[in-house]
Amino acid sequence: MDGDEAVTVWQIIILASIACVALKLAGYLVPASVLANPAAARTADLLTVAMLAALVAVQTLGNGEAIVVDARLPAVIVAVVLFALRVPFVVVVIAAALVAAGIRAVT
């Protein structure tokens, strides 16, 4: 039975990987003429903004299928303030990690 199960795990990860690679390729298969329309070009640009902003929200507050307020939220708020003050990117990212790590260390 062990052998069978090992094959099944492989099948799952291979199928899932093929799906993910195919999805990545799909975007490049859309003909460039689609983006010639100004509304379509504007929307494609805004799509990346929307998804990355949504990703920030999920990374900051999500925990599986739940919303959890923990050390991540103050860390991201500190990051927003530092970016607004034009602090360099790397410094802000390190500061955010330190804030979260610090809060977790004392709670």
């Binding site: 799952i12 990860i13 990987s17 993910c20 990355l52 949504a54 034009r86």
Partner: protein, 245 residues
């Protein structure tokens, strides 16, 4: 200083790419460790990082297999695909940056992820966008795979990697990459609305879906040109334009 300086832009792109690569690499250790803890072997763990190469989808697969075993295979594949769908939309936007030629596009598709797209689109010129995309893609690919292997091999020694605040660092990095684009009112409105939609939907939808539904905000704003600006200000103001550095 309205015209972005090409050399400065290229060096900014390089800096962002390396910083993001390093931060993501640190995260790969936790993927490797968690994957082995969920019952995958080292080969299977590394296969996911090399071939699937999409952090969110990878964590979903091992999380579901850890909880439900191989009987949850369909759910594991569906979740990976849902979380991977946004990469397809990134590809749509990155295609003109990458340019033509199928070998190049195939390689580009493989490294089309949140990080490479975000670094690229944060840059002011086409050449620096191209550089940001490839350099970030390659840096993350190399770093993520190397540290996946390390995590899979040494696993438990590190303990809970969230103690180092890496999850918050990842979220902060994406805020920083979005930052230059939020100076346009329309983009800022879309970002705020999409973040709220994703947060509200997280408790009620499968992981991956909230981000995709939030993408509809962009479709609505883009199609109707809500909050659009009539007079086009310089599209990607360089840092230092408003307040000298």
């Amino acid at each position: 200083m309205t015209e972005p300086n090409e050399d400065e832009a290229r060096s900014e792109a390089t800096k962002s790419a390396l910083a993001v690569g390093a931060a993501t690499a640190a995260y790969g250790v936790s993927f490797g460790a968690l994957s082995v803890a969920s019952g995958l072997d080292v080969w299977q763990t590394c296969f996911l990082s090399v071939v699937m190469f999409s952090g969110g989808s990878q964590f979903a697969v091992i999380g579901i297999l850890a909880g439900g075993g191989t009987t949850a295979g369909t759910a594991a594949i569906a979740s990976a695909a849902l979380l991977g769908t946004r990469n397809g939309i990134y590809g749509l936007r990155m295609a003109p940056v990458v340019g033509n030629g199928w070998p190049k596009r195939l390689a580009a598709a493989w490294v089309t992820i949140d990080e490479s797209t975000a670094v690229s689109l944060a840059q002011p010129t086409l050449r620096s966008q191209r550089r940001g995309f490839w350099l970030t893609g390659i840096a993350v690919f190399v770093g993520w795979n190397a540290t996946t292997l390390v995590g899979a091999l040494i696993g438990g020694v590190l303990g809970d990697t969230s103690a180092y605040g890496l999850d918050a660092a990842a979220a902060a990095a994406f805020v920083g990459l979005l930052w230059p684009r939020l100076k346009r009112r329309q983009a800022a409105a879309v970002a705020v609305a999409a973040a709220i939609v994703a947060a509200v939907l997280t408790p009620v939808l499968m992981p991956g879906l909230p981000v995709l539904v939030a993408a509809l905000v962009a479709v609505v704003f883009g199609a109707l040109n809500l909050f659009g600006e009539e007079s086009i200000s310089p599209r990607y103001p360089l840092s230092g334009r408003r307040r000298g550095r």
